[in-house]
């Protein structure tokens, strides 16, 4: 058993990837639901961790799990169907000096259909290449590119009317 083929201790994996997973989750579902999704993502990752191949792309792997947890969160939110009137009040998102207010953009991101939302967030927040985005959301690379462009077009209508 060579050192290079061994999985790192889970704590190292967690230390290395927790911030990117957190950014992905906050951008996808907002800080309140990100909290639960974060726990669920890393609990699921810990359970499955010994079966992971040491040479796999662990960053894409954990973001795939995080993407699935955001789907669960959105389904639960749809069932509750209680819209939040003022996301800034809940999220603590402050307005900035950007030409459009940040919460406008990120609320629009949250409202995107799941695949488009994850494609946008995985691309621009988690900085994943198209191939890994496709693997994470479970579609072809071509479909992932399409989702990304559709998502960006919708966001443009919101922030650049």
């Amino acid at each position: 058993m060579s050192v290079s083929s061994a999985l790192p201790p889970f704590q190292r994996f967690l230390d290395e990837h927790r911030d990117v997973v957190w950014r992905f989750l906050v951008s996808s579902v907002g800080p309140v639901e990100a909290e639960d999704c974060f726990q669920e993502t890393f609990i699921a990752a810990l359970r499955a961790y010994p079966r992971l191949r040491a040479d796999s792309n662990v960053r894409a792997w954990v973001l795939t799990i995080a993407h699935r947890k955001t789907l669960d969160a959105h389904r639960a939110r749809a069932r509750r169907a209680t819209p939040v009137e003022d996301p800034a009040a809940v999220d603590g998102r402050a307005a900035t000096s950007e030409p459009w207010r940040d919460e406008t953009l990120w609320s629009a991101v949250e409202e995107l259909p799941a695949r488009q939302r994850s494609a946008v967030v995985l691309r621009y927040v988690a900085d994943l290449p198209h191939r890994d985005i496709a693997a994470a959301i479970g579609c072809s690379e071509e479909a992932a590119r399409r989702s990304l462009h559709e998502g960006l077009s919708k966001l443009r209508k919101v922030v650049e009317p």
């Binding site: 058993m1 050192v3 061994a6 999985l7 790192p8 201790p9 889970f10 704590q11 190292r12 967690l14 927790r18 911030d19 997973v21 957190w22 950014r23 906050v26 951008s27 800080p31 990100a34 909290e35 974060f38 726990q39 890393f42 609990i43 810990l46 359970r47 961790y49 010994p50 999220d91 998102r93 900035t96 950007e98 030409p99 459009w100 940040d102 953009l105 990120w106 991101v109 946008v120 621009y124 927040v125 960006l152 966001l155 443009r156 922030v159 650049e160």
Partner: protein, 225 residues
């Protein structure tokens, strides 16, 4: 500026770092549901910060301060499980017993041990070693003989040198036949310090030959002899 939207998405991501409270809640849940196979934490000692690691069976590793954390954890990942997380709460009893030991208030450890990093020969040697009482010493040859390998004192030395749970498995109580203190994974100065703490060696003023006074107690303590 190529694209203001793309720039805003890249720059504007929320929560650059996950809050400490969020990772603490994760750690608490991993502990509550016993999801980790190995947990570790730094524990205080007069030698500096030791790294202690435990499995569900018991303490599996105690590393001296100069041992690098990553190789220690990587070895645990390879030999036991990569499900390793830092969790001070799981090491509280180890920390407490070590504190009591170092203050002179504790003469033997009650924490459960996990022997899975120790090979079959090492197990024989270290089992004999773990029965040497506080304040006593044995020679390498005596430990080898008791372990059933009368000619194996050199091999016994190697097994003692790779003891994964020093202090708690008291390999510092095995010394050279002629009265010299012998080697130690944590360095001979620490070995002497531990033997002085236990009263097996007189404090450094004298010539420093390990007192053998504890041996009689040692022998009577073991019914096999």
């Amino acid at each position: 500026m190529t694209d203001r939207l793309e720039d805003a998405l890249r720059r504007g991501a929320r929560g650059e770092h996950v809050a400490a409270g969020t990772t603490q809640r994760l750690g608490a849940r991993i502990a509550a549901e016993s999801l980790a196979d190995v947990t570790y934490a730094p524990v205080d000692s007069p030698f500096g910060s030791l790294l202690a690691a435990t499995t569900k069976q018991g303490l599996v590793r105690l590393a001296f301060p100069e041992e690098k954390v990553d190789p220690v954890l990587e070895r645990l990942a390879r030999h036991i499980s990569p499900r390793i997380v830092e969790s001070p709460a799981q090491l509280e009893s180890v920390q407490r017993e070590l504190e009591e030991y170092f203050s002179g208030a504790r003469r033997s450890f009650n924490v459960a041990l996990d022997w899975s990093l120790i090979g079959p020969f090492g197990r024989n040697i270290l089992r004999v070693t773990s029965e040497i009482p506080y304040g006593g010493v044995l020679s390498y040859g005596e430990v080898a003989a008791d372990a059933g390998s009368p000619r194996g004192s050199r091999a016994a030395g190697n097994a003692l040198g790779s003891n994964p749970i020093p202090i708690v498995i008291p390999c510092h109580r095995v010394v050279r036949t002629g009265g010299a203190i012998g080697g130690y994974g944590g360095g001979p100065d620490r070995k002497r310090w531990l033997l002085e703490l236990e009263g097996a060696v007189r404090a450094r003023a004298g010539a420093g030959a390990p007192a053998r006074a504890g041996r009689d107690r040692t022998r009577t303590a073991r019914p096999s002899r």
